[in-house]
Symmetry: C2
Subunit: 267 residues, 2 copies
């Protein structure tokens, strides 16, 4: 009897040890692995210059001029001017909804969150006006589990392959209407009403698809306090689930948005 008891305790202990070792392996501090390169970091940001695809009508969207140089001054500085919505940028909720948070007012806690990457490249290949639907989000959830609290939900459309060719990226038809993918209204409703996320992002000019006239997705998501990341780069380098995003916008007091640096910290 005592022998069986000892054997049983023995087995329980082995299980506890295995579980604890597994748990320790499963939750390493991935930040600690960054300097050594053990943890990979992907930069989802395009460099800013004066010849990136801008929103139609946004003339002279960016400019940088030298203010001091090595020959004359012994050091180098510049002054730059930019639209708040140019290059890889953030739309603050105040962009479309009066009284909502300006870009400096978004809490740091909401700028760091799990990346949910929904791949709609195949659907976009057959339809440039494709919009990521509620059904696409639910298909993602069936495979990867419920979209977690504080997530940043990214539509991976494959449109980044057209960057920085403004003609192909805007894809304007003879009638002047743009054609590129975005989020569907039912997806925005699902994300704002049935999930608790921090923001959405996309590798196109806008979270609303190209032909949009009234920016319904902007209005829905901003009214719910969500921000947008637009013109994201290198989304193909991050997995559907498991990466953490840091979305760090320039802290413009009272800004409607601004240039954002986005890092994906891989699992």
């Amino acid at each position: 009897m005592r022998r069986w008891l000892a054997l049983l305790s023995f087995l329980v202990l082995i299980l506890v040890a295995i579980y604890a070792a597994w748990a320790a392996r499963r939750v390493p501090d991935r930040l600690a692995g960054v300097p050594s390169g053990k943890t990979q970091v992907v930069d989802l940001t395009y460099a800013l210059n004066d010849h990136l695809p801008a929103w139609p009508g946004d003339d002279h969207p960016f400019e940088a001029t030298a203010k001091a140089g090595f020959e004359k001054d012994g050091y180098f500085t510049r002054r730059f001017c930019s639209l708040e919505h140019y290059g890889t940028h953030m739309d603050a909720p105040a962009h479309f909804i009066e009284g909502q948070a300006t870009v400096d007012q978004i809490a740091a806690q909401r700028l760091i969150g799990p990346a949910v990457v929904v791949d709609i490249e195949r659907k976009v290949a057959g339809d440039a006006d494709y919009r990521l639907t509620r059904a696409d989000l639910q298909a993602w959830e069936r495979r990867w589990g419920k979209i977690p609290e504080g997530a940043i939900v990214l539509a991976r459309t494959g449109w980044a392959a057209r960057w920085p060719d403004a003609r192909r990226y805007r894809n304007t038809d003879p009638a002047g209407l743009m054609h590129f993918p975005g989020f569907a209204v039912d997806a925005a409703e699902f994300l704002t009403k049935e999930r608790k996320i921090s923001g959405v992002g996309i590798d196109t000019l806008s979270v609303d698809f190209g032909p949009s006239k009234n920016f319904e997705v902007h209005r829905l998501t901003h009214a719910a306090g969500l921000y947008h990341l637009e013109n994201l780069a290198s989304m193909e380098k991050i997995p559907p689930k498991g990466a953490f995003l840091v979305a760090a916008p320039i802290k413009l007091e009272g800004g409607s948005g601004g240039a954002v640096r986005v890092f994906a910290i891989l699992p």
Copy 2:
């Protein structure tokens, strides 16, 4: 004999289980705790507007003008202009050393690293021109261990209490010389030659102290490929050791530096 062996295995297993459980507790994924608030994030960045303390002579350092507004357009956007070295900003190595990395060229991996916070407030209270020395760094190491690879070393001088009062922050004497603390040359030599860090930061206008004429620290650190974070906020909210910094500069192609968003992810 068999009984003693069993008892010994038993004890070893208990120790393994305890160690594994302890290890699992010790290295939680702190990123995963951000959305719930379990992991705290401190924003070390001041909001950008046109009345922050600028470097002497930097007139009109920042400007933001509305481009679209709710009444007329139904949405809100602005255009802004800024010097690259204004507000909470990063100096890229190209700021003082020709051929070194511009701000867009610094690898993402080097922008995320352990924060080493060296508190010199008491010394500064007695001497506004105090410079953080090699001895101060060695005193930090005696207490907290060797400065880790990829660290971002911050001088906490207490000067942030004078922000945003430009007169007190610059602290210019009747002869026109500024007086505020910085890093000493021997500290810069120690950090560039004897440790492998990514950058240095400070809660003043410059990593070189106020009276500096030739910016020796700038030249030493930039020549070694290190970047600087200047005009940092809220440093008193992060511990001497254990926080992780994310320093996310605006990705200006060919820039000498630029506005940076700095988050400290606490242990």
